[in-house]
Symmetry: D2
Subunit: 363 residues, 4 copies
């Protein structure tokens, strides 16, 4: 197993939910990037559980320690390692899961792959908790991107049947994104939040969970970044975002809506604006043509499946007795992972963008 | 620019649409894989243009020559190189495109990246023609997968507003897939074909184009293949499929539909079937849990945007005169790329699966 | 900067000599490898400073903590992270080195590359202390190799003008190697040790240092491992061993002696031994032909330059005042790094062999 | 098997000696590099066999065809593919080698690895002929390096017992290198050539072969290039040069001589020259400190073993009959590969340097 991402900026994640510590190493960073500890705290809290009823009441120790690669608050250029000690783990909740895999959880696939060696407690290395070091290290990239005028931000587009307004793909501003990317429950249409929270609360009260969709945008990327074929913007970003647990769909620009569009509707007409800059009148391509940025905002949509750990009785198998059984999952789980997954997705996107830029000598 | 894919099985694609030749090198193949020239011809024809009115009337020379890595009809284990000579190119059609990028085509992004050096004729290295060596080399992987009991096949799920029936995610058979993966216009519901063809023909007659969606399945994959985080099945496959031009969305299992599902609806209950094998009652996860296969069929959906090269007048810029202009694209273009893209997507999926298997010592 | 090694087994090293901690992450390990803590202690002590007069009297805290990837004393298959807290650092010894690079030390090259950001204290990330996590993690690979019948061991071949006997390239035994690879000062000819120690002591008393050469062998490797061209045994091993500070030459088999040999002298005649196994009568090729193992012992020689940190006055530059100056290096440095470098070289060789085997599905 | 080199500039070599063609793909090149066809012809002839008695009288068709990535004599930035058709192959000479591996040739190792599938004719993919595309593609990098003021050149340092003068490690000039790197038999001391040729001719007349050593230098590299640990200058260059057949030793600067040096002798004192540039008084480190360039010339030594294909009767095994046999190798082989290997080593060094520079955004 290898939990590394990137070619030039390489992120290496390690740890198990109930082991000694989780953490990561980020290499390839240039020297002199400021570590913005305030921003790291903001993003840590966005991802952390236990803040409100949309998330698990589990308290996790998310405080990180930077072990290397930073001197006087700035990166030195040497590998940056960061660890987060584990705590508040109740391993007994996982005793029956070693034999009875939770439906739609990684338990079964992991049991086949790692057999008796898999550390099933808390999901082991498969745990969503591993997004904590991703968020911390990705935030370092986020700060560096911001210094280059590149802003990443997203909102919750859909929870169950409730939709937020979509991004205005052409006119998204860095300012709008920088408000969203600090919010605990970021939406464009403030009325959507209440309705979404109601859907999540209903799921929670029903011992159930619910899925959702997020929309993320990036402003300030220069045109000409990326490659055709396999090292394109979409390839690299999709590969990064599928690293966040529960992600089952990633699209760019109009995404699946393209299937029902004519070329004359879909094509983004080019024009010179009054400042002599080339722009497009629409942005269905989501800022990417032939795998390469065109200078318009990047538009990415990601769908996440409902948390599989629900307290409702479910059908599964007992791997030891080889019988069909009914399982009731105990423990403190998230009724909806979407609000906590969004900062991790944004952080991972920052790592991917840093890697793309670094690969072209621009980071 | 680097057009390489893979870690253990490495595919390296080269060539420009109007250069001397296009081709590719496939390394990491085990020795002794049979080259199935009949299958390569079937897949070549599926991808080739000029067969019917859904595609460009352009005739392309797709005949390939294997230069290395094959002896007596079998792979030797050494790098396998394959080239396809170019022909029937009408470069004058591209004269005005050097200055006036086609809306939603890679022209503009490529012009920024490669400046005056980009070989714009026929799209250069960005051309959809590069899917010819991908299809040829991917078919070699397809044959090897088939010998291991792994079958890849897909169908056209949607063209404009016309939908084909969806795969039965639980009961897809290798037999069904092996019929679809030889068809020129594969659909499950035979009535869908006629309606889809009508949509394409209407677009063609309107000097327009139309997008679509395909659904691809894989049967016979063992459980336990893949990894959590960044080297998971979804990461690798998405990264591969975004290498095919026009792809703007890739999802697994229920994909974007997860956003509106409860955990109790989405979770795939596990059970022992009468042969003692572990299966799931539904397959919303598309055969992948925590980045690892669970033994159920893989289900992938891919949306493709309409071909940007349409003959309707469009707004664009003239990069030389720095003016806004109206462009009418000449040349012989596809009103719908979906039927020709499907075999390339399947081929690329075969390369990705071969790489995943090889990385675990199973290819 | 990226301190990662390997394709399938990836070693990622982090830390600075005077930072919070040093450590590493080892990914791609199979599940179920036993962690041999006794062997780790043996190798830790071989590499550790402060044991006798051949090494610096500096005491380093080398005790490691495994953070992840191990459960019940065995690897789980998840990334294995290990850290070593720093201690006993006297940073003031390095104050004048920020401006006045030590001749033949990385100081100057690092100053150019990392400018004011380089953590010069103790050599920062360039420090020989980084061989501590390499040795610890490499020892985990060493144990796994041993379980497959593969033994790595070496001896000090030369210190100054004093030579040890060479390995009998054909008849090296695992038994011989397993004695050498536990010794603090491994030599074949016991008389060589005393003479070598005298050379080192003379250098120490003269405020000087001395270089040397080691010879390392590997028994038990199967024939057929490796590749021609760029992924051959020699390419991978050389690339790994040059990662240990002070290494300036790496050769295989007869190495530089080949320059003065005829083909009829150099060629290793093949024969069937009485058990029907194919062997060679000589082993000038050092067990590698065309980048691939031939089943004979691997023979590697490595030369290390003298420690650059000597207390004799030396000519250098002051980067701040831009003057030529005389520098006297203070601090507690090694008069000869060779005995402490050997276990690190062996450990790194184990990582490289594990990666080669894993890449062929044999680890 | 994978014959790829590099991270940013990726060289992929394919082909077998007696197949349809050999060639390679070079990706990651920037746009606008001039293809210097005259220089390519010079280097082609230096590597080509059949020119004089030091080499095999075999005539090889070395004429290459560039298939992609070049427009109007300059690189476009797209992958550059190049092929060389095979010809003048006498495959019958290899009939008995399929069963009876030549001592110290890759035959035996390849037979174990690739079994019956190995294309043994002419050495297959293991053939020294594969250095033809390496030389051609490396020369494209050489031209690009030259435009940046970086010059690569080498000389034959030793053939048998005959030595050429060594490079003056401090005062090597680009001018000196640019004469050497065009010569068929480059030496510093013109008297050495005649003596070396006599050694080679004696070997040829005795149906034998002889080994040798080359010394290669690079001027014009900026200080600060490279990394500590595993991505250092030495790691990357050694890994590249071991890709050339027959290489068995690679060293930097004083190399193996360091073993017998004191720190006070080995250390290269730093000083400001009269132009205010930092230089070293000696250059034992060969221009590399801590894996990073220091601005002094790079000094590399490479030893090559004698060609294993000699016409003298030799002991080997018959893999079919499982008997010990005597083999007399027929065919037209090189009595000394050193003069022909030098341009290939230089070319491969150019690829490695291009990759290092590209990885830092400087190519």
């Amino acid at each position: 197993m290898n939990s590394n991402f990137g070619e030039k900026i390489v992120l290496s994640i390690f740890g198990e939910s109930h082991g000694a510590a989780i953490g990561g190493v980020l290499t390839g960073l240039p020297k002199g990037i400021k570590i913005d500890f305030d921003e790291m705290e903001i993003q840590r809290l966005r991802r952390a559980p236990g803040r409100d009823k949309t998330a698990t009441p589990r308290k996790e120790t998310d405080e990180f320690e930077i072990l290397s690669g930073v001197l006087d608050g700035k990166t030195t250029g040497a590998p940056l390692a960061l660890i987060i000690r584990n705590g508040d783990t109740i391993s007994k909740n996982y005793d029956n899961l070693r034999d009875c895999p939770r439906p739609s959880h990684s338990d079964y696939a992991a049991a086949v792959k790692f057999g008796g060696m898999n550390d099933v407690r808390g999901g082991g290395h498969f745990s969503g908790r591993l997004t904590a070091p991703i968020t911390a290290l990705g935030t370092i990239c986020r700060t560096a991107l911001l210094e280059k005028g590149i802003t990443v931000g997203g909102h919750i587009l859909k929870i169950g049947a409730v939709n937020d307004s979509e991004f205005d793909k052409v006119n998204i501003s860095a300012k709008q994104l920088s408000v969203l990317n600090k919010a605990a429950f970021p939406v464009i249409d403030s009325k959507a939040e209440e309705k979404m929270r109601a859907v999540i609360e209903a799921a929670r009260q029903n011992c159930d969970s619910v899925g959702g969709m997020v929309e993320i945008a990036v402003t300030g990327l220069p045109a000409g970044l990326g490659n055709p074929m396999f090292k394109g913007i979409e390839n690299v970003i999709a590969s990064a975002l599928y690293g966040i647990p529960a992600v089952k769909a990633v699209s760019f620009g109009a995404g699946f809506d393209f299937a029902d569009m004519l070329g004359s509707e879909a094509n983004d007409a080019l024009y010179y604006d009054k400042n002599g800059n080339i722009k497009t009148k629409t942005n269905n391509c989501g800022g990417i043509l032939g795998g390469i940025t065109n200078g318009m905002p990047l538009i990415i949509r990601v769908a996440l499946k409902p948390t599989p750990s629900i307290s409702k009785p479910q059908q599964t198998v007992n791997l030891k007795t080889k019988e069909n059984v009914t399982l009731t999952v105990e423990g403190r789980h998230d009724p909806c992972i979407v609000p906590r997954a969004l900062p991790a997705l944004e952080a991972m996107l920052c790592v991917a963008l840093a890697d793309i830029l670094a690969g072209e000598g621009k980071f």
